[in-house]
């Protein structure tokens, strides 16, 4: 799973969000590292919808502009959970090994 996809699913994990909300949330989650552009976002959203990982939640009109809110489907939650655990296991192994060789890099806690 690409990082952008992972972050988009994460942005939708607690609540449904519209396009611009997802962009700002992804920027925040990634600490400003990942800034999605509109085209990239909608390519990803379209794929995620085709794969039935997300679905349209509702639509609103704000300042004459259409906002469509997306939410995770049960399949989406499951996929995100699997991916998150996989990353966590990998990260744990990496930190553990670093802790043996380079305790200064591993942050001490792992």
């Amino acid at each position: 799973m690409q990082e952008a996809t992972f972050l988009i699913l994460t942005a939708l994990a607690t609540t449904s969000q519209h396009g611009y909300g997802i962009i700002t949330d992804v920027t925040q989650i990634s600490g400003g590292r990942v800034r999605l552009r509109a085209g990239t976002l909608y390519t990803a959203l379209d794929r995620l919808r085709s794969d039935e990982l997300i679905a349209v939640d509702r639509e609103e009109i704000v300042d004459n502009r259409l906002r469509r809110y997306y939410r995770l489907t049960p399949k989406g939650s499951e996929t995100l959970a699997t991916e998150a655990s996989r990353l966590q296991v990998n990260a744990a192994v990496a930190l553990k090994r670093l802790n043996v060789s380079r305790p200064d890099l591993a942050g001490g806690a792992a």
Binding site: H18, A38, G39, L41, D51
Partner: protein, 178 residues
């Protein structure tokens, strides 16, 4: 966030590149995101943003029917090829027409000279009796025609619950979806 009508017109022109079915369902929504992302006072779309929208539109046009995950790599490869190939052909033509002879792609390299017909004596590599230059231009015309035809190919896959109420889920190439 901005409300410049010029900017909105610029974005709408970009959005026109998406497949019709996607446009019908998502154009207003994507426009809202583009307008919300734009810096105040902005009058024209930024280059990077335009490129991003065009790339996204190209990928969607080339994505075939079926679950997206199944044909993803091929769609991306095809999207890249269909972007790079005509640009390359066009570049070679432009170089051959505009540059003085010694700077042309074929001036120093016999392979290029034969392949692109810029050598004054050889005048192009005869393939089936046709000069490569002619083939190049012909290929550009064919690609251009294919792209234009592509606008009418209904490549968009309908999703349940969208579009005409009678259409539950159409096959990939049905005619009324695009």
């Amino acid at each position: 966030m901005t409300d410049s009508p010029d900017l909105e017109r610029g974005y709408r022109r970009l959005l026109a590149c998406y497949p019709r079915a996607f446009r019908r369902e998502h154009a207003e929504e994507v426009l809202a995101v583009l307008m919300a992302s734009a810096a105040p006072g902005r009058k024209r779309p930024r280059l990077a943003e335009s490129a991003d929208v065009l790339w996204s539109a190209l990928k969607m046009r080339l994505r075939g029917p079926g679950p997206a995950s199944e044909n993803r790599p091929w769609a991306d490869a095809l999207a890249l090829f269909s972007l790079v190939a005509p640009l390359f052909l066009l570049l070679v033509d432009i170089l051959n027409v505009t540059l003085p002879y010694r700077f042309r792609p074929g001036a120093r390299n016999p392979f290029f000279a034969r392949a692109f017909g810029s050598h004054p004596q050889i005048g192009g590599f005869p393939l089936l009796g046709v000069h490569i230059f002619t083939i190049t231009v012909g290929a550009e015309v064919v690609i251009a025609v294919l792209v234009l035809l592509g606008r009418r190919w209904p490549r968009w896959r309908r999703r349940p619950g969208t579009g005409p109420p009678s259409a539950g889920r159409c096959p990939g190439f049905c005619t009324h979806c695009s």
